[in-house]
């Protein structure tokens, strides 16, 4: 038998993705897949076979390998989420294109996520977070941490970043949730159309009356000079919104939940302000809010003695790479003192999260403020009663009742 046959003939190929049972632990089946081989075979909802990459070192090498494509516009690009089936073939900027187009788009956006911009947003994030905690304390327990706290933070952060007027926040937040949380592709299409129309109008308005935000920068530097057309600017705004909203909501609420379930780790978070960024990295590793990334092989690629063939679907398991015992000692333990170096919570390679420094700022401010100002914060229901998202979505609680 060659090493290529990871599964014995006749042995059923498990389906991917599967739902978690514990909000922050991988589904039981996943833990059985992390054997000696750095990859395993799985089946997607439409019956298509895929390689699931589980090894940390091998996954990082693959994510940096230009033979793997992220071209969502390719007619044969794998689909993991049933409701996005109809949108197969639609090219999304950044996350859904390969170099050199990707590099051109990414380069335009780098200044908007630089240290200077992030430092300017921090005080505004802090005052929003303070206000949200004031409201929670004023109303008293029980509160839903998702809607009262985790949701408004990224929503405001993205509005600030893009330069969306404050009056439009509610509309913006609702339609982006409708898009990300849509149950059917018809619902998702309707929400997409609504957001597209709004963003289109916003770009037109900003051309007439420029303000200070990422969209204004893009308009001034690219649209006016012909580097981008109107549709591209709107689609970039759309991708930033979708990529940056739901992920961060979940990272805040799931991060808070993991901390509340490990109160001794909250002490580590609070003992030294310099420790906060390290704890956030460990939470990103441990919770793996984005569970997987999808790719397609453009050429044959050898991985640990197995050949991934050109055209094969490849799914990179963030969760299992972040729990690889070859990379992290006791990988299933949440240890706030650990230096979770090289975790792939934000991915790796050219598509590594563009918004990671914004997300880090949000998480650091949100979690340190929450636990400093509300000592004794804890879940109001047992862990197994916290409703959680489906396996194909960003991972996190749907609702998180808390008390103090």
């Amino acid at each position: 038998m060659t090493k290529t046959e990871i599964r014995r003939p006749g042995e059923p190929v498990p389906s991917f993705p599967q739902d978690r049972t514990c909000p922050y632990q991988p589904p039981k089946a996943y833990t059985e897949w992390r054997g000696d081989a750095p990859l395993t075979q799985v089946t997607l909802f439409d019956g298509r076979p895929a390689w699931l990459i589980t090894g940390h070192a091998e996954g990082r090498a693959l994510l940096a390998d230009p033979r793997l494509s992220s071209d969502w516009g390719h007619p044969a690009f794998p689909v993991v989420v049933r409701r996005t089936e109809d949108r197969a073939g639609l090219a999304f900027p950044l996350i859904g294109v390969d170099d050199p187009l990707h590099a051109r788009q990414r380069r335009m956006l780098i200044p908007s996520f630089g240290v200077k911009r992030m430092n300017a947003i921090r005080p505004r994030l802090q005052s929003l977070v303070d206000r949200l905690v004031d409201d929670m304390l004023a109303k008293g327990p029980v509160a839903d941490l998702v809607s009262a706290f985790a949701l408004p933070v990224p929503s405001m952060a993205i509005c600030e970043l893009l330069g969306v007027p404050y009056d439009d926040h509610d509309f913006f937040e609702e339609s982006s949730r409708n898009f990300v949380g849509a149950a059917t592709s018809a619902e998702a299409d309707a929400a997409f159309a609504e957001l597209y129309k709004y963003l289109h109008g916003l770009v037109v308005k900003k051309q007439a009356e420029p303000q200070d935000g990422l969209l204004d920068d893009l308009i001034a530097r690219q649209l006016e000079e012909g580097g981008l057309d109107h549709n591209e600017v709107v689609m970039i705004a759309f991708v930033l919104l979708v990529a940056g909203h739901e992920t961060t909501v979940n990272a805040i609420s799931l991060g808070a939940l993991a901390l509340m379930q490990h109160p001794e780790q909250i002490e580590v978070l609070l003992e030294d302000p310099g420790a906060v960024s390290r704890v956030v990295d460990e939470l990103l590793r441990f919770t793996s809010v984005s569970d997987y990334m999808v790719r397609m092989a453009k050429e044959d690629i050898e991985v640990g003695g197995t050949t991934i063939k050109a055209g094969d679907a490849v799914v990179v398991s963030i969760t299992l790479m972040n729990r690889d015992a070859k990379a992290y000692e006791d990988p299933d333990v949440f240890d706030a003192r650990r230096h979770a170096r090289h975790h792939v919570g934000f991915g790796h390679g050219i598509h590594q999260c563009l918004g990671q420094n914004l997300a880090r700022a949000e998480l650091e401010i949100a979690l340190s403020t929450l636990f400093t100002r509300i000592p004794g914060l804890r879940p109001a229901v047992p862990l197994d009663e916290v409703p959680i998202k489906a396996g194909h979505d960003a991972q996190g609680p749907v609702e998180l009742p808390v008390t103090w």
Binding site: I110, S277, C353
Partner: protein, 64 residues
């Protein structure tokens, strides 16, 4: 020791500046640059982790 950065590859992740602050920083366009004086290297042990931390292999350390 020499530190080189391929600014054409850089995707602005900020991993280098996070891993070895004081040695790596950002210019006005938020692209990576070395803090002046560090081209010939540094005693700071953290720089050795930067080539691995960089998501696109844009940073190299040459031990000469």
């Amino acid at each position: 020791m020499r530190i080189t950065i391929d600014r054409d590859r850089c995707i602005g992740s900020g991993q280098c500046a996070m891993t070895a602050p004081g040695v790596f920083t950002q210019d006005d366009d938020a692209l990576v640059t070395l803090v002046p004086g560090y081209e010939e290297g540094t005693e700071d042990p953290r720089v050795h982790d930067v080539p691995m931390a960089c998501p696109v292999q844009a940073v190299e350390i040459h031990e000469d």
